[in-house]
Amino acid sequence: MIDLFSQLLTDYTLRTVALGAATLGIVGGGLGSYAVLRGQSLLGDAISHAALPGVALAFLITGSKAPLPLMLGAAFTGVLATLIIIGVTNTTRVPYDSALALMLSVFFGVGLVLLTYLQQHAGAAQAGLDSFLFGQAAALVEQDVVTMAVLGGVALLVMLLFWKEFKILAFDPAFGRSLGFPIRALDVALTTLLVIAIVIGLQTVGVVLMSAIIVAPAAAARQWTDQLGAMVALAAVFGAVSGISGAFVSGTTANLPTGPTIVLCMGSIVVVSLVIAPNRGLFWMWWNQRRTSQRLRRERVLCYLYTLARKHEHPKYAHEAATLDALVSGSTRTTYVLRQLAEAGFVSRTEKGKWHLTDMGIEEAHRLAKSRNLISDFPPTEDERSTD
């Protein structure tokens, strides 16, 4: 472990890749939270696919593979696709999801055509552009990471600066509009930040898998908290952890690509979060439901015993477990429930194996019957009849 850690500090390639992956994880997780909350996860996917022709065009125009021009090109076609999606949705009868799928594949197709053209005509200079498809983290150099960090840092700063404005945009845009905030401009601004978060990760993760960086950390973080601030922070942490561990695992294992490994790390965090997160996790919900149904079953048996006791006008009249089985329809585990009740001191068992309520049980059953408004269902006892 210490060995690996020192390797991380000394190995230039590994350190560069890990820093780049951490950067894109932090920015993608933080800004992705808003995309997830606003129901724009698929928009992230469309933007990243639509970025591919932009990368190719930027190279065609500048002839350079410097990070900034390529990212600008990616951002340009990403935004263009977003605008067309919004335009098509607003002006035609094509629904939003169809417009999205359409632009995603059309732009991606154009990107593939351009890449093929470049491969055949641009000679050796274009080598490596196709790595934008699935990402090639090993090719990251310091200049790339610095560009990523500066762009991502600015995007996060803007998000923090306009925290309140973006929050109301995400939660209740109509109300925000009534307060006088230019909701459309804020929408454009936040979407632009999302585009930045996407384009800085393309070279590392690739256009195909990039949307996972936007969606996965945020979806995992939402499981653990009910506060926007905590969710954004946690998503950034999840993104960073996945980025670093993905870079690490693929850097120290032969033939393991970095981008997909990062995505798999994020996937693992999502799965764990879906299962064990308190309140929203599957395990917690299952456990809670089980506890509730057990409690309700105990209460039902208690109420049945109470009903029977009142029918027999003897509060401690003892019954076979089978009698209760017949009453508590659908449950064949009455004996088990009775044992639980006995442990709680509500019922006890006679020598002949019959069950009856204890004083405590009678009190509890009466309280339950009252709170559930069931008392009129019970036959009145001797006392109540005489007081009528």
Partner: protein, 266 residues
């Protein structure tokens, strides 16, 4: 009818307001005057444009034509005097935030750009939650609130706006009878403080009880004015197209005119 030029202009005056989403107008040539200090209910069938009317007045949807004056001036200048309660269903209640935080949003307009709410604002928001009987739920995640509680949180958010004119979109939707009473008590308190409330309402039965003015809307303004003048059987039939069964069993008020004319307070 131009807006009166005296020193006390109407809380709201709408002239020739038309809104169209596609080819068909959603609202057609709406004229409406709401005097200061009244509780006005807007009623009309589904798709009559009730929500759109509020949103066009509040500049949330762009009107195709028309003019809106709030206390005699354009909305842009009077924004700080206006409060808004959107429909409860218009937001995602699973959003990661709590009741107090939602109420704080009512203060965002006053805070302006970038400034965050501080201790004073939190106290103000908490006081508003107290007024609607929700102080105990301040830290509760909003999806864990019942429909009535969510509605009261929205109301508290409008209260901190300290507006003179409130627009409320179905503030009683999905609310039980007790909460309905509680909410209307709050609206009456607002009225006592000289506030004007314009609320979209869906229950015709309770209109005379809750409101003193009413507007009947179905794309066009069918009628508006004091309840006893405008809320007539004839006007309702014209609004709902004769599908108003309950009216036959009800006394529609004492001064119902013959209904052939639209009534409008001068």
């Amino acid at each position: 009818m131009p807006p009166s030029s005296d020193s006390n202009p109407a809380a709201l005056s709408v002239r020739d307001l038309t809104v169209a989403y596609q080819e068909e107008p959603v609202l057609w040539d709406i004229d409406l005057t709401v005097p200061s200090g009244v509780l006005m209910g807007i009623v009309g069938p589904n798709g009559a444009g009730k929500t759109t009317l509020l949103q066009a007045i509040l500049d949330i949807v762009p009107p195709a034509a028309g003019q809106v004056r709030i206390f005699g001036a354009p909305y842009e200048e009077q924004r700080h005097r206006v409060g808004y309660v959107p429909q409860r269903g218009s937001v995602d209640w699973d959003f990661p935030t709590n009741a107090l935080d939602v109420v704080l949003m009512g203060l965002y307009g006053r805070l302006g750009w970038i400034r965050r709410p501080g201790t004073d604002e939190r106290e103000e928001a908490y006081a508003a939650l107290e007024k609607v009987g929700m102080a105990d739920y301040a830290d509760r995640q909003i999806s864990q609130l019942s429909g009535g509680q969510q509605q009261r949180v929205f109301l508290a958010r409008a209260l901190v706006q300290e507006a003179d004119l409130y627009f409320m979109d179905e503030p009683l939707q999905g609310v039980d009878a007790t909460t309905e009473r509680a909410i209307f008590d709050i609206l009456r308190t607002l009225q006592k403080r000289d506030c004007t409330v314009v609320a979209v309402h869906h229950d015709l039965q309770t209109v005379p009880e809750y409101f003193d003015h009413v507007m009947l809307l179905n794309v066009r303004r069918i009628a508006s004015g004091p309840v006893e003048e405008a809320f007539t059987e004839e006007n309702l039939r014209r609004t709902y197209g004769g599908r108003v069964g309950f009216l036959k069993q009800q006394d529609m008020g004492t001064t119902a005119p013959d209904g052939s004319e639209e009534t409008e307070p001068s």
